[in-house]
């Protein structure tokens, strides 16, 4: 089962839920935790061990062969992303704009734009007992998260095919990186906080999950803060409320130190159990 932990708003506790849920489940069975928030991956900070094994990841970018180019200018014309400019005497390529669609390369009449790998980030992994962890981080200056998320998911599919439970720590927001991170998930956990910002962004996330036709439920983090409009919204929309993690400064302090909070707060452990029970029920 693939469980994606997502949220519209950043900083609501996605990583907290993902790491704690994965570690909690790993007490009794094999689990893979995958950090797909490739722009700002944080899950690894809470595992108490460095993911030392890894490899660089690449995306394919055209490279200009000046000797064979006939300067017809077609490459610039076919590129919908303005990643190629064909000047009278040279072709300029802007790798950060390229989506690796191969159109310029394969349609070039003189085959003067062969695709070549360019580094975009790094994938690392570690295994400790029942818990396997995979994270990817985008190189600073790289703008597109989607190709790296795709490669990471493909890697996990291959390497951890036999592991029955996968937890994905997703990027925030509702745009293309989130779509990519959640599209293969069997269930999506939307983490929110009971505040106007939390509610506003939860509504966007719910709209996104409905658009993708996903099964999903909500975890309210820092319950007791703010107001009760998130719970009223979930009730009115018939969205399952999977768990409530209380607002407690000591929990925030524990998180700040890099701890897995369920190991220190029994109330959190109970909520993790409730999340799994609710997912099993909702998914069946």
């Amino acid at each position: 089962m693939k469980i994606a932990i997502a949220s519209g708003k950043g900083g609501t506790g996605k990583t907290t839920v993902a790491v704690n849920l994965a570690s909690y489940l790993a007490e009794t069975r094999p689990v893979v935790l995958v950090d797909l928030d490739v722009e700002e991956p944080n899950s690894g900070l809470f595992l108490g061990a460095e993911a030392t094994d890894g490899r660089d990841t690449f995306k394919m970018i055209p490279a200009w062969e000046s000797t064979t180019c006939s300067h017809c200018g077609q490459c610039q014309e076919v590129c919908n992303f303005h990643a190629i400019i064909a000047l009278p005497d040279q072709v300029m390529i802007f790798p950060e704009l390229c989506h690796s669609c191969y159109a310029c390369s394969e349609l070039c009449p003189t085959s003067s734009l062969p695709m070549q790998p360019v580094k975009m980030g790094r994938m690392s992994w570690l295994s400790a007992g029942n818990l396997s962890f995979v994270e990817s981080r985008l190189d600073i200056g790289q703008e597109q998260a989607v190709p790296l998320i795709k490669q990471t998911l493909a890697f996990v599919d291959e390497r951890h095919a036999a592991v029955p439970i996968r937890i994905y720590d997703c990027p925030p927001g509702t745009s293309c990186p989130v779509i990519e991170a959640t599209r293969e998930a069997d269930f999506v956990v939307l983490v929110t906080e009971p505040t106007p910002f939390g509610l506003n962004d939860l509504k966007l996330a719910v709209e996104t999950m409905r658009h993708l036709d996903k099964k999903f439920g909500v975890v309210v983090n820092r319950q007791g803060l703010g107001d009760d409009r998130v719970e009223a919204y979930c009730a009115a929309e018939g969205i399952p409320l999977l768990a409530r993690i209380p607002n407690d400064r000591r929990i925030a302090e524990s998180y700040a130190r890099g701890q897995r909070i369920y190991e220190h707060f029994p109330v959190v452990r109970r909520q993790l159990a409730a999340i799994m029970d609710a997912i099993k029920e909702a998914a069946s």
Binding site: L45, A145, S175, T195, L204, H211, A252, A256
Partner: protein, 290 residues
Amino acid sequence: MKEIVVISGKGGTGKTSLTAALSWLAGADIVVADCDVDAADMHLLLQPDFARAEDFHGGQVALIDQDVCTACGACAEVCRFDAITPGNDFYAVDPISCEGCGYCPRVCPTEAIVMEDRLSGQWFVSRIRTGATMVHARLGIGAENSGKLVAKVKNEAKRIAAEQGKEFILVDGSPGVGCPVVSSLSGADFVVLVTEPTVSGLHDLQRVHELVARFRIRCGCIINKADLNLEVTAAIGEFLTANNIVALTELPYDEAFTRAMVAGRTIVEENDGPLALQLKDCWEKIKQTA
């Protein structure tokens, strides 16, 4: 005209609450731009009137004419995004997967495929409670090109600021280090980094600062919830000194921010105590440094 961009790397550090507070303090002297188009929240505190709304078309999407398609499969063969679903009589495009590259229509032997502009959001020009103009946007669900929408919002804010003779544009940026953030940073004169003393707050601050440093933009930092972990706050302080980042202010962990948010107001309207004074000083410091 100076452009001040507030970003945080990590979400939930208080970036939007603080940007709204600074907007309130700046009054009518500025134009406000909400470039966190993916999960825009600042309107909940500044209550813009949505006076002008425009559709935003960013990118394209392929569309196959079922009557013309011969199901030859040439399109699916060239598509690198697995966006084309084969069928017996005709093929179809999955608009969620399609990145709008325009390769498939070029190989379709029957010219069954057209590229259509994709409606990927809306942008607005509003008046907020301070009398200032705010430019903001809403990205469509699952849309790409948030970077382009950010650029649109910023350019519109710049145009209005020039027209109104305003001295500053205050921009609420987006989280992360990818395309919307790069777009938020382009053309900025000063960057305000908002962080919190958690292991992830520090980690994300370092990554986003690496990005800002590439743009060679001067920056300052607000440490929010500074008393949550004094050790990490000290580590952040060292990082700021080592990288020549102006330490703007350290704010306490205070649920007054949430109470103000629930009331639909900025923290400086709700609180006239030390917190408001600190933020006033902070805004003066930002103006002077920028």
